[in-house]
């Protein structure tokens, strides 16, 4: 069997999307100084919320319409990620709890929530099967119907559902906002030095709340993509794996830049499935292959700390709670 480059790249893009969303969400969080280790949990719960709501919709209506199912699952995914992110915000920003510990608690809670309902939804609703074919089919209809006439580029990039475009757009928009606008400048100030930002009249709490919640929603969409597109609407508790943590790794790899995340996620996506496509790999070398994204991330982390270039460093106040009276 020959190596099909176009198919490989198409699958790499598919693998890249959850990572793109996840890392984009985490970048927004970290730029505001929140090291949100809850992103893996938010991704899982956001994804499963989409499946669960579509299941309920498809089973309660006689003739379910695909686009309504899709809209419902999109909205519930956003609502769920928003809710979980809010818990994180209240605990770390308002109540000043430790970010690492809160993040891990969020991941425990979020993956638990997702995997529980993802696995138990059929049993809880008393259904024999929990497929959401109508919604999934509606999603899988390509936005650009003539994509196959665009040759390899069309297959690689435009054969995906609408979340592909959403993901790319979010990355571009957040790159522009962070780099070029006043809001982005304020946000970066909050992440670098909240006391200075506060003194300059920036509402630190407001900025932290909004970016953390937006970041959570973006990451949750990554979960939704994985649930609806990659898993075809059926949640398997094992298959999501370490994608959430890989998304956090990607943030370091792209040095906190959403525009680089576009390329980085594609690279990580390709690495993630490379073991399936590279010929003549034994199961053993496959496992070594899967180690690559993490090793590469560690090398980038070391290299950027070594180079000490200011714009490639983590935000200065990353992981620290801000309390005005404590200077």
């Amino acid at each position: 069997m020959g190596f099909d480059l176009v198919y490989f790249l198409q699958r790499a893009v598919a693998q890249a999307l959850p990572l793109l969303f996840g890392s984009n969400g985490e970048i927004l969080n970290e730029k505001a100084g929140s090291l949100n280790l809850g992103i893996p949990g938010i991704m899982v719960s956001g994804g499963v919320a989409g499946i669960v709501s579509a299941t309920i919709y498809e089973n309660s209506v006689a003739n379910p319409k695909g686009w309504i199912g899709l809209l419902i699952s999109l909205l519930s995914s956003i609502a769920c990620s928003l809710l979980v992110s809010l818990i994180y915000c209240v605990l770390t920003v308002t109540l000043r709890a430790n970010q690492n510990v809160t993040g891990l608690a969020i991941t425990t809670f979020g993956t638990g929530l997702g995997n529980y309902f993802g696995g138990a939804i059929a049993s809880l609703l008393g259904l024999s099967s929990n497929t959401i074919t109508t919604t999934v089919n509606a999603y899988k209809t390509p936005i650009i119907p003539f994509y196959d006439k665009l040759g390899a580029v069309g297959t690689i990039f435009f054969s995906h559902g609408f979340l592909f475009y959403v993901g790319v757009m979010i990355a571009v928009v957040s790159a522009i906002i962070l780099k070029k606008t006043r809001v982005g400048l304020n946000l970066r100030a909050v992440g670098e030095n909240p006391a200075t930002a506060d003194a300059a009249g920036i509402n630190v709490t407001k900025y932290k709340y909004i970016t953390t919640c937006l970041g959570g929603i973006v990451a949750g969409l990554g979960g939704l993509y994985f649930a609806i597109d990659y898993s075809n609407g059926l949640w398997d508790t094992q298959s999501f794996g370490e994608r959430g943590w890989l998304a956090i790794a990607l943030v370091i790899f792209v040095m906190w830049k959403p525009n680089l995340a576009l390329v980085g996620s594609f690279l990580f996506g390709a690495l993630y499935i490379a073991d399936v496509f590279v010929p003549n790999l034994t199961p053993l070398t496959k496992e070594i292959f899967k180690m690559l994204p993490y090793v590469v991330t560690i090398i980038v982390l070391i290299a950027t700390s070594f180079a000490k270039k200011k714009e490639n460093q983590p935000p200065q106040s990353l992981g620290l709670a801000y309390f005005r009276e404590e200077r």
Binding site: L35, L37, I87, V90, L91, T94, L95, R96, A97, N98, N100, V101, T102, L104, A105, I106, T107, T108, F109, G110, T111, G112, L113, N115, Y116, F117, G119, A120, S123, L124, T237, E242, W245, I248, A249, I252, P283, L284, E287, I288, K290, M291, Y294, V295, T297, I298, L301, I302, S305, F306, K308, P314, L318, G319, F323, E325, E326
Partner: protein, 366 residues
């Protein structure tokens, strides 16, 4: 006068300088009680009414203490969590965010496995000894790598240790495939060697004793030893530490050697005392949960006995309910998560004072 009053914010937060022990215990008791009430309601909600709130506690107690065997398993899980929590305490005290306990324990377990597979001819006591040394060294190495980069070039330790987990994870997969029992199964099988002698009728009896001893040792080390003092000074302020002549780099590397080494020890105990096999699931996320356990206990080893027990109890108890309702055991993660939110949130009321604009106290102060 009126104008000045309205410019004062409705709610004002200030840091507490001291808190009476009565109040601090009171706040925590309220938080835990609230957590239990909310968790019971949540269990009822997510099981779609199959477990009623009032059944929840009796079922949880039954799950954790129903039989002698269950008591032993609860103890075993508590100790597994406690051991990693103890390992993390010195690192956290130093404000070194070691998120890599999972990987350090896995690599320790891996080292034990390698010894079992490479030197099958050793007498049992020597094999256990070599396994122990190999595991501690491997764990220490896994902890020292990020520490060295933190100490020399300031690489972010949270992210570094996190990544090291997954490198360890993949290495375990490699070893499992290398020594797999049947081709293609990726299953290394159950080891017939390198097993701890039984105590109290179970293999993990010795583990429990060792970990309880370790609790006392770490308590003394952190509270009364010179090194423990150095750790807390570095944690409070690196500049102060430098000023009074502490070699900060040395302390960071030494402390992470201890932290990683103890995680490696946990890995050894898991292989020799509990699982007698190797796979990526043997630490079972405890490396992450232990972070929460250590933090909730304010890094005090004695309090960690309580927090690790509390988390294990919730975990086992909820799993029991989920099983009896024929639902999956991920329900316990939800409940543990919610309980943690309450306890994390209540710390705020211990560390800070909330004053309302028109409250009695504010008027008194004026």
């Amino acid at each position: 006068m009126k104008k000045a009053k309205s410019s004062e914010p409705l709610v004002r937060i200030s840091k507490r300088t001291d808190i009476s022990p009565k109040l601090s215990v009171g706040v925590r008791v309220i938080a835990i009680a609230a957590a239990f009430i909310v968790c019971a309601l949540v269990i009822t909600a997510i099981t779609n009414g199959r477990a009623m709130p009032w059944d929840v506690y009796s079922q949880m107690l039954k799950g954790a203490f129903g039989t002698v065997r269950r008591v032993k398993i609860t103890l075993r899980d508590t100790c597994a969590l406690l051991c990693l929590g103890l390992a993390l305490a010195p690192a956290f005290k130093m404000r070194f965010w070691n998120i890599g306990a999972e990987g350090q324990a896995l690599i320790g377990a891996l080292a034990s496995t390698v010894i079992i597979k490479l030197c099958p001819g050793l007498p049992w006591w020597l094999m256990l000894l070599v396994m122990l040394v190999a595991s501690v060294v491997a764990g220490a190495l896994w902890g020292v790598i990020p520490a060295a980069f933190k100490a020399t070039i300031g690489a972010n330790e949270t992210l570094f240790t996190l990544m090291m987990n997954y490198v360890a994870y993949q290495l375990v997969n490699v070893v499992c495939i290398f020594w797999e029992k049947q081709k293609g199964s990726s299953d290394i099988g159950v080891f017939d060697r390198g097993t701890l002698p039984k105590l109290f009728g179970v293999d993990y009896g010795i583990s429990i004793v060792v970990i309880l001893l370790l609790t006392a040792i770490i308590y003394v080390y952190m509270k009364y030893s010179k090194q423990g003092y150095e750790i807390s000074v570095v944690g409070e302020s690196e500049n102060t530490a430098r000023y009074i002549g502490i070699n900060v780099k040395k302390v960071i590397i030494r402390t992470m050697m201890i932290s990683g080494g103890l995680c490696g020890l946990a890995g050894f105990l898991l292989v020799s005392g509990t699982h007698h096999t190797l796979n990526t699931g043997i630490v079972g996320g405890n490396g992450f949960t232990a972070i929460i356990v250590a933090w909730l206990a304010h890094l005090n080893p004695i309090f960690m006995l309580l927090t690790s027990f509390f988390v294990s109890f919730l975990d086992i108890g909820t799993a029991q309910i989920a099983t009896s309702c024929q639902l999956n055991t991920y329900a316990s993660d939800i409940v543990v998560g919610i309980a943690l939110f309450f306890i994390l949130g209540c710390e705020f009321f211990i560390n800070y004072k909330v004053v309302f604009r028109n409250s009695k106290k504010a008027k008194e102060a004026a």
